[in-house]
Amino acid sequence: MKQTIRTLLAKHGNLPVAIDSVGDGADLYDAGLSSFASVQVMLALEEEFDIEFPEQFLNRKSFSSVEAIEAALSEILKEQAA
């Protein structure tokens, strides 16, 4: 899942640095992720996993790092399966 997140970040994140140079726990906003780009990544993830981000994940924290995105996605997918 991390790899998919990274691929979509590379495609839609519009980061000024290569995504490979950003660690899983590193702050994506500090690395230059804009709020516009974070929404684009969110849309791409919704398309990829056929989900919709619920209200409680529509905040900065859920998108602050690769790990945070993974945690949010796992929770959403778990909810959906239940």
Partner: protein, 393 residues
């Protein structure tokens, strides 16, 4: 009882109204001369209103944003330049009070703001970046204990009159444009080389000249929290709410003038409804919309305050952006209605019904952080954000 404690024993509204009365007496002069509203600002200091949002342990009165907004609305009815200067100062205080907790330098500074009634300015706008406050070109350089910064600041309101300036920059010279910090520099820690003159249609008394700011100070004056967090959770919301409150004040005063015009006409021809009366009713309904918009925003801010998840939620940003868009557009319609009601007496300067200053001041609202820019941000969020369709939620 000291003189200061005698004043603070009085109600905030009473103190604000006394300061507003003084500011109102100079509003036209401040506007014509494009000069700092020193009488209004001195009156606010005499009423000890500069540091009231600061916690009591640092010398403030711990008042909430709604009370500050009420003061801004009172001042907005008297002199928009005084009101805007006061609002912008309080925006800086809100960031300091909530996002420099535990930093001994900033806590001591808050105490000084209260004791000495200091005035704090802000430098976020930068040449090459325009009004996007979440982006900086300039970077602060920390060398041992010392932090150095040069910023081409296109607009620093009352820069020449401030006791300190809060400046945004990149965190370090290699940081991304959005990886910012805010730093407080005291008057004797910076130089301002003026690069532009604030000769504008309205808000002339804010003296928002452009400067090259060169500053050097101990690194501990950098706010401990990232600016991204301060902007998202405090600065944008507080700006939109306090600005909305003072813009409401400008429109409310315009409506009061139009109402007394209609009343005067009604007195002259009893039994006949003056031609502007229907328009006045319409303007009054619009003014109520503006008020409701600001009050609902303040209530939402109050509910979310201290809860970083709630303040970071997209729905919160959308709501605050909507307060700004709604108020800044509607006040122009209201003042224009008032102008039509008062006719030439409103168009002319120097009558009791003059509305030129109101109209010109109010026009800054849609540019001050451009509405197009804000609508752009909101439309991005609406791609994923879900509309809250409840009436009370």
């Amino acid at each position: 009882m000291t003189a200061a404690s005698k004043i603070t024993a009085l109600g905030l509204t009473e103190r604000a109204k006394r300061a507003a009365k003084i500011a109102a007496g100079f509003a036209d002069k401040v506007d014509i001369e494009g000069r700092f509203p020193s009488e209004g600002m001195e009156a606010l200091k005499a009423e000890r209103l500069m540091g009231i949002m600061i916690r009591p342990e640092f010398g403030g009165e711990g008042v909430n944003l709604t009370e500050i907004a009420d003061i801004c609305a009172i001042l907005g009815q008297a002199c928009a330049a005084t009101a805007m200067t006061y609002a912008m100062h309080q925006i800086q205080i809100a960031s300091l009070a909530d996002y420099a907790v535990g930093s001994s330098w900033h806590e001591a500074f808050q105490k000084r703001i209260c004791d000495e009634q200091l005035l704090i300015a802000s430098a976020t706008s930068e040449a090459g970046i325009g009004g996007n406050l979440r982006n900086s070109i300039c970077a602060i350089e920390v060398d041992g204990e010392t932090a150095r910064l040069t910023k081409d600041a296109t607009v620093i309101s009352y820069g020449a009159h401030a006791d300190a300036i809060m400046v945004t920059s990149r965190r370090h010279p290699d940081a991304a444009h959005s990886d910012q910090v805010a730093t407080v520099f005291l008057k004797d820690q910076y130089t301002l080389e003026q690069t532009s003159v604030w000769d504008t249609l309205g808000m002339r008394g804010t003296c928002s000249d452009g400067y090259i700011l060169k500053a050097e100070a101990p690194g501990e004056q950098i706010l401990p929290r990232p600016f991204a967090e301060i902007a998202a959770q405090s600065m944008l919301a507080v700006s939109h709410l306090l600005w909305g409150a003072l813009w409401y004040g400008i429109a409310a005063d315009a409506l009061a003038r139009a109402q007394s015009f209609v009343k005067g006409a009604a007195r002259k021809s009893p039994g006949q409804m003056p031609p502007g009366a229907l328009r006045l009713a319409e303007a009054s309904s619009l003014l109520q919309l503006v008020k409701a918009n600001v009050v609902a925003g303040l209530k939402q801010f109050d509910t979310c305050k201290g809860d970083s998840d709630a303040l970071n939620a997209m729905s919160f940003s959308v709501a605050m952006n909507n307060v700004k868009i709604g108020t800044s557009q509607t006040i122009l319609t209201i003042i224009n209605h008032c102008m039509l009601i008062c006719g030439i007496a409103g168009y002319k300067n120097g009558t009791p019904f003059s509305l030129g200053r109101h109209l010109r001041d109010a026009h800054s609202a849609q540019l001050m952080i451009s509405n197009d820019r804000i609508l752009g941000n909101t439309s991005t969020m609406l791609l994923v954000n879900k509309q809250d369709t409840s009436l009370l939620g």
